[in-house]
């Protein structure tokens, strides 16, 4: 990026090893001193051009105005969202780098449907930074932010044993090792637990590849000690495939679920871990540790396999808790023609899923994330204190729950539950309680009416008992405890979609509502789509500042960074029973010649034992 010439001190004025083992409070005191220095600088890291938004052209219909950023210099610019040909686009003009036009949402009708569910959060009552710069250059979180942290990410290393061709993040390429100490991690986790109105309760331990850390189990344990109810570990699954004990240890330490990359059902679409996933699933199964499959969806690459990915999830539903698809976020300087080949948005994926499941999962079965806010508001009214709310922007994500019958028929929850009806019922009940009506009477009214919104004759056979189904709903609404939700999850497959932004489709309105955050080593809490979209200003700047030089890290650990390279034994993996069983009935990977398997792996950047 052009703007990165800020002259800020790139490394802390001390060796990281000098503070690594200090008590958490002491580390916090030291790192927080550097926040002003690490914040993005006006006129250096970014400029502001708040002129008029671009004019509409013939055939375009105004949807909204917004603020966005120049993909080349990060200048803050006015942008227009418009409809043309049934799709929503964003256009913006940087005075220095010209016009940028990007697909924002692939279906205007879905945009309008989703928009109806938008609800804003309560804001951040305990901001970590004062407001001194425009959004998104003041993170965070700052007093402008609208949503509490729903999922906190904590990067615990930038090491990785894979050498994916597109990645510039891992330690060898970055030229330093970012690996916060256990005490430093404890400080970061505490920072997010201090937030009000609702402290972070869900954390994703991520990297790099977090399972490369020898103390990963201790990290999970620390997260549990610090009060996190939900702990997930984000991994490419290589170590899970070869080390059966690690899954058990992770579960015993308090991990609730593993978040595993899974881009497709063939070696062509998923060269990252196609061969290892079956073994990882087997080990997770033995450890009784659930997994969410996370495909990054790219047009012209794996969009044609989204239906098969869901089928794969259903086939392994004894251990797969969900499939969370992520339409591609395009990073780096990519010409428009190339972007158009790759770009896919939430409605595009929904349409493909509809086609590839023969209409069994329709677009209308999906709801935007804030749809469930009335559940939180109802429980809040009952309990009289702020509850966990998913108030992210409607264009950021969508979800549904999937059930199935023994004959393989896929049945989304919307076929037998009137989701809109239930949410309206809860919304109204929350208002009644807030206006002073007796909460027990209102709750009884809700419970007596709930059955009207459930038609179990259309439900999968195992849910034909209305009483049984309503018991789940009652437990979630009234008990509102994690185990009730978990019990429900065990009976279904969660289907989610989260479209992270990139510099081309950036929308400040979205990022102000973001509820997926990162805690940085200096204690700031930053939305996912500033942390990763402006890495030079947030992620890389902060991580490098508190990192080890490679030489020092190697001396301290006795490890050699360059030797941490995974070499795949395709032949051996293909010959195993777990591999055959995993893909049987989902994809015909067995007729693909061995040489093509090897080629797919090598092209991706993962060497193969010949």
């Amino acid at each position: 990026m052009e703007q990165v010439s800020s002259g800020v001190l790139e490394r802390a004025p001390f060796k990281y090893s000098e503070i690594a083992n200090l008590p958490p409070e002491e580390i916090g005191r030291i790192v927080k001193k550097h926040v002003p220095h690490l914040m993005p600088k006006a006129g250096v890291d970014y400029r502001v051009y708040l002129g008029k938004p671009p004019e509409l052209r013939e055939g375009e219909r105004l949807v909204a105005y917004t603020l966005s950023t120049c993909p080349h210099c990060y200048a803050l610019v006015a942008a227009v969202l418009y409809e043309n040909g049934g799709k929503v686009y964003e256009r913006k003009v940087c005075p220095e780098h010209g016009e940028f036009e990007e697909l924002y949402f692939g279906d205007y009708a879905t945009y309008e449907r989703f928009r109806r569910y938008q609800k804003d959060g309560k804001g951040v009552w305990t901001p970590n930074v004062q407001l001194s710069a425009p959004c998104p250059y003041n993170c965070g979180l700052c007093p402008r932010h609208k949503s509490h942290t729903a999922l906190l990410n904590i990067a615990v290393t930038n090491r990785c044993e894979l050498r994916c061709w597109y990645c510039f993040f891992y330690a060898v390429k970055a030229g330093y090792v970012y690996e916060p100490s256990l005490n430093h991690i404890r400080f970061m986790l505490r920072e997010a637990r201090r937030m009000l109105p609702y402290p972070a309760i869900a954390v994703q331990i991520t990297g790099g590849e977090p399972l490369l850390r020898d103390d990963i189990v201790d990290i999970v344990r620390i997260a549990r000690e610090e009060g996190y109810h939900h702990i997930q570990v984000n991994t490419e699954g290589i170590r899970l495939a070869f080390d059966p004990d690690i899954a058990v240890k992770l579960r015993e330490a308090g991990t609730n679920v593993v978040y595993m990359s899974f881009d497709g059902v063939t070696p062509y679409t998923n060269p990252k871990n196609h061969w290892e996933v079956p073994y990882a699933l087997d080990n997770l199964r033995r450890a009784k540790l659930g997994v969410v499959l996370v495909p990054t969806v790219i047009k012209g690459y794996n969009l044609h396999e989204v239906g098969a990915i869901i089928r794969f999830g259903v086939k392994h539903a004894d251990i797969v808790r969900g499939v969370n698809m992520q339409p591609v976020s395009i990073v780096g300087r990519v010409p428009k023609k190339e972007r158009d080949k790759l770009r896919v948005t939430i409605p595009d994926v929904l349409l493909e899923i509809e086609k590839q499941t023969d209409g069994q999962i329709r677009r209308e079965d999906w709801y935007p994330v804030p749809t469930v806010v009335p559940v939180s508001r109802f429980v809040e009214a009952l309990r009289g204190k702020p509850q966990f709310e998913l108030t992210t922007h409607f264009a950021c994500g969508a979800a549904t729950y999937l059930f199935w019958d023994d004959d393989g028929e896929l049945i989304p929850i919307t076929r037998f539950v009137d989701v809109d009806g239930v949410m309206q019922l809860l919304d109204k009940a929350a208002e009644e309680i807030a206006s002073g009506r007796n909460k027990y009477i209102v709750t009884l009214g809700v419970l007596s009416k709930l059955g009207r919104y459930v038609d179990t004759s259309k439900a999968p056979k195992r849910f034909r008992s209305k009483r049984r189904f309503l018991r789940y709903i009652f437990n979630i609404l009234v008990k509102h405890d994690y185990s009730s939700l978990g019990e429900f999850h065990y009976q279904t497959l969660f289907l989610g979609m989260m479209h992270f932004q990139d510099p081309y489709n950036y929308d400040v309105s979205r990022v102000q509502r973001c509820d997926v955050h990162y805690v940085m080593p200096d204690g700031r809490i930053v939305p996912f789509c500033t942390f990763n979209v402006f890495p030079e200003l947030y992620r890389d700047r902060a991580q490098k500042f508190f990192s080890y030089e490679i030489e020092e890290w190697e001396k301290l650990t006795g490890k050699r960074l360059a030797e941490e390279v995974y070499v795949r034994n395709v032949k051996k993996l293909m010959e195993g029973e777990p591999y055959r069983k995993a893909y049987e009935g989902v994809a015909d990977v067995f007729s693909i010649p061995y040489e093509e398997h090897v080629l797919a792996s090598k092209k991706f950047g993962i060497p193969v034992v010949e």
């Binding site: 502001v48 708040l50 002129g51 105004l62 949807v63 909204a64 105005y65 917004t66 603020l67 006015a78 928009r115 109806r116 938008q118 609800k119 804003d120 959060g121 309560k122 804001g123 951040v124 009552w125 901001p127 407001l131 710069a133 425009p134 959004c135 700052c142 007093p143 402008r144 609208k146 109105p197 922007h393 409607f394 400040v508 309105s509 102000q512």
Partner: protein, 151 residues
């Protein structure tokens, strides 16, 4: 020192309909009492005022300049900027109407290191009863207990 204050009415359409109107009164704090300031008025400019608008209402009303810009398609925004000369501590009182509900909200500022720092702000999503808020602000600004009765 010059401080800005905003009085506005907004009818916003995106991402959901909202009607917000705010009349801001600015008071100087002197010798335990409040004195309403007369300020110079001018029109609003996103270039000049967006950040100050965010600083003013991002927390108090959960409303930012980005929200205003977003909602302008099919909506409206009229805003008067007041520029006031102040020397010491300051109280802003927002008489706000949000989707038909009225609120009286407070923000207190104190001088520190050549700047005015916001030391207290009501947040519309986290409002204590008026008496508690008035007491907290009075204590922070060294006001007599009755000082906020007339605002």
């Amino acid at each position: 020192m010059i401080v800005k204050a905003f009085s506005f009415s907004a009818s916003l359409s995106e991402p959901y309909p909202r009607r917000v109107a705010v009349e801001t009164a600015v008071y100087a704090v002197s010798e335990g009492a409040l004195r309403r300031l007369e300020c110079r008025g001018r029109g609003f400019s996103f270039e000049l005022d967006a950040l100050d608008f965010d600083a003013e209402f991002g927390d108090v009303l959960q409303l930012t300049s980005a929200d205003v810009i977003r909602g302008l398609a099919g909506g409206s925004f009229e805003c008067r900027v007041s520029e006031c000369d102040v020397e010491g501590a300051l109280l802003k009182v927002y008489n706000a109407t949000v989707n038909g509900r009225s609120y009286k909200l407070l923000a207190a500022y104190k001088p520190a290191e050549g700047k005015l720092l916001k030391v207290y702000a009501d947040i519309v999503t986290n409002l204590a009863p008026w008496r508690e808020r008035a007491r907290a602000v009075s204590n922070l600004l060294g006001l007599a207990p009755s000082a906020l009765e007339s605002v």
